[in-house]
Symmetry: C2
Subunit: 491 residues, 2 copies
């Protein structure tokens, strides 16, 4: 264990604070998951990777983490301001199918994508449709506390009333007066809301809506912000340790979550709020309309005009981790290619640890290296500094292999375990297993080509021909040229 202690940047007050769980060794963490109406985009993946690292590191520190990441399968409207169709129903109409088929399709796709990037599954992955009763019950509590009003079959959270006693805007820094100002500009005639910042916690369903439920206020759908309050409370309690999400969710989504929980139970729900930053491409915001947005699969296959080639999932994971989660990340071919090399060097170093020979004493300082990695992770999960620290370890490994430094048995064991632990368990990187097998085939072919070259040099043409014929039998053809021999395999 490190002498330093974990500190987390808390979005609630903008400060790095020592992490002290409410009920150690248990830690509760809630992260807003995807709305499953389309393929997960890279911004989502970066957010989930951030909290994958938090999950892994807290587990490494010995905490028993219950990690809840929801699936939004109803209630997220096309227009975030409580208007327009449900995103999933809209997609179902486009794909001429039933909303729950859309949910199934994109949930499956999301799971495949998280697996490709080696994101650990959360402990619980609850769905909005799976918690309608609980949502109705929370709405009732908020109404009973006088903080919501019913209007034509919908229920709205009364932000102005709430703000009389509580600090609405605490998380996002929005001022209630400014929001009040916007009311005059934005609330058109006929709008059911009394105040611009009010938000639906229950929305009356139209005739054509497919996903809808009975409630004390008529047939409708829970508001989008509500599910997260309900599911975090149900599985983590009224007060829990960490709530994470992308920066774009800070307002209104997370601000409303606080208001709902305080409005229902009188308790601020979250001790540490964490927000991940956004992605850019060649310096510009990633956006579909700018044509510079790509999906995970396009990035992996290199199937986009802006991409010179495909990058493996582990290259992309390494690339993301080279930036701190609170910084923006800029995609460029140069940066991705540098990450590819970096990831490869790191993996190579781990293999090379096995070739190190030990001495009676150490000239290298392994404890110091371990301590530095712990310190950087304890500093608000600073993965780029941690990776830089690991690369000092890579230098160490190379010097040891060149016999320019010495290491004792005990220190070598420590170095090996430190690298394995940090690279595989905490950063969640891995060998690209497919490549591994391909590497082995490449290596074997290099051995065979060398043998064949030696035979030809010795004018042992019988052996050279034997090799060519045997390879032909297993569908490998050898082509000789002045520069040497190349080979192709046809399955």
């Amino acid at each position: 264990m490190s002498s330093s202690k974990l500190h987390i940047f808390n979005s609630l007050n903008g400060k790095k604070e020592e992490f002290i769980p409410i009920n150690p060794p248990y830690v509760g963490m809630y992260v807003c998951g995807p709305t499953v109406y389309s393929d997960a985009h890279l911004g989502n993946i970066r957010t989930f990777l951030t909290f994958d690292i938090v999950f892994r590191y807290l587990t490494h520190l010995g905490y028993k983490v219950r990690y809840v990441r929801n699936i939004t399968d109803v209630g997220h409207l096309v227009d975030d301001a409580d208007e327009g169709e449900d995103k999933i129903e809209k997609r179902a109409r486009l794909e001429k199918t039933e909303p729950m088929e859309i949910v199934q399709k994109y949930t499956n796709g999301f799971h495949q994508t998280t697996e490709i990037f080696n994101l650990l599954p959360p402990s619980i992955e609850p769905t909005a449709t799976g918690h309608i009763i609980e949502q109705i019950e929370m709405i009732q509590k908020i109404i009973d506390n006088g903080l919501a009003y019913i209007e034509n079959g919908s229920v709205y959270f009364d932000v102005k009333k709430y703000a009389e006693k509580h600090n609405y805007g605490e998380l996002s820094g929005r001022k209630i007066d400014e929001l009040l100002e916007q009311t005059r500009d934005n609330l058109e005639g006929g709008n059911e809301k009394r105040f611009f910042a009010d938000f639906a916690i229950w929305k009356k369903a139209s005739e054509s809506t497919i996903m809808k439920w009975n409630s004390p206020w008529g047939i409708g759908v829970p508001g989008w912000h509500l599910e997260c309050s309900v599911m975090s409370t149900k599985y983590l309690g009224k007060e829990f340790d960490i709530h994470g999400g992308g920066m774009d969710l800070k307002f209104p989504h997370h601000e409303c979550e606080i208001a709902q929980s305080v409005g229902a139970d009188g308790i601020a729900p979250v001790k540490y709020w964490m927000h991940g930053n956004m992605l850019t491409v060649n310096g510009a915001k990633m956006s579909k309309s700018l044509g510079n947005s790509f999906l995970p699969n396009e990035l992996i296959n290199g199937d986009h005009p802006l991409l010179e080639k495909g990058y493996s999932p582990m290259t992309i994971r390494f690339f993301f981790l080279q930036a701190h989660y609170r910084s923006t990340v800029d995609f460029s071919n140069e940066a991705l290619q540098a990450s590819e090399k970096g990831h490869h060097r790191l993996m190579k170093a781990i293999e090379n640890i096995n070739n190190i020979k030990t001495s009676p004493s150490s000239s290298v300082k392994v404890d110091e290296l371990v301590e530095k990695c712990n310190q950087s992770m304890n500093d608000d999960f600073n993965t780029p500094v941690t990776i830089a620290n690991l690369f000092e370890g890579v230098k160490m490994i190379n010097l040891l292999n060149e016999n320019k430094q010495t290491i004792s048995d005990a220190d070598l064991t420590k170095l090996k375990s430190h690298f394995h632990h940090y690279v595989f368990n905490i950063l969640g990187l891995k060998h690209e297993s497919e490549n591994n097998n391909n590497d082995l085939v490449d290596n074997l072919m290099n051995v065979i080509i060398d043998i064949r070259k030696n035979s030809k040099d010795k004018k042992d043409y019988a052996t050279a021909d034997f090799i060519r014929d045997e390879l032909n039998k297993i569908h490998i053809s050898i082509k000789d040229s002045h520069e040497g021999s190349t080979w192709t395999y046809e399955n």
Copy 2:
């Protein structure tokens, strides 16, 4: 398309009937999914494979199939007769965690297993906890129709009352008089049921129960049989085409499903009931207490005293398909090894189609082969006969490659497409891709070992040593003995 028409054995009347969907080209199919409190066992896998074939074949016939397979995540009690703890809660207590963590863990595991066996994901995979409101609404309908009674916070389906007008026992063949007889023997004092065959549709929750909900009858949990009626109705309508499951679910589960649907909506819900048969091992029933039950992973890894070795997922899939779904299947090493060879021969034949040379005319009858495959599948999805028909095709392919028969261009295209379609799309078999690469490594190592043996025979020890050293560098060690050389690779 075949001149024959699809016929399905309908468990409801014990007859093979022509398949005529209620609303073509749409087909609704509901299959009872797993209760996610432990790893899926092989019997489950066989059942889901059966309906994977049904799903694939109906799709092949041009139907637009909505395939619903549920996840039971609450309500399935340890004792099927409405007593004892919830299976998932019991497991949660054993694993010292929260029920929904158990649900998550075993749902993830189940998905991994179905993927390994190449089972297509269903169109919708709804959960019991996701449909509590709908279940409460169906209970209310049944009560309103006078077919359920409330007793101490629980609601029971009144089978005797139902049987006055409807045929309870229609599916399973149970006689209401015999069930009545059992009432005297089995209903102890204090039991809330009026009649032995009555079943809970809402069960009052005890203080210690974790998963429970408010209802008009107090805090409780829906009865296990109810979820399937509710979810099939919600996603497929009050009347749908096919309902499938294992034979052990016929009574009471499916019998109760019919009673619930008829009791709520007055309509028999299912046109074709299909039931898959059971597994045995070396002739005996597979059972944990007999020590002859193994999990999918144990079968794949060969990690069980009864298994001589591991069998690949595609070998196991092929093995299952060699029996008709209404027959029992007996596991034995001999049978699995025969399937391994059979699967390999089939895959090899598909590769060999590419080597066939065409002639101006055909001596083989491709149309006849295609027709025979369609006929056997149309005969209640008879996969073993279909596989036998495909092996006639394998013979055809081999004779063509030996130039003992002739085939025209057009027929060859047809043959190729028929094999691809039947083997990959309908039977859902595939090449074992991992083995493929391992095979290549094996083949290359055989070439290298042969070269080295030749060198040693020629007393060219320099080459033999060169080979050994080069292999060592890439972590392969060669071991020589009187029987020849073996090698090991350490990554």
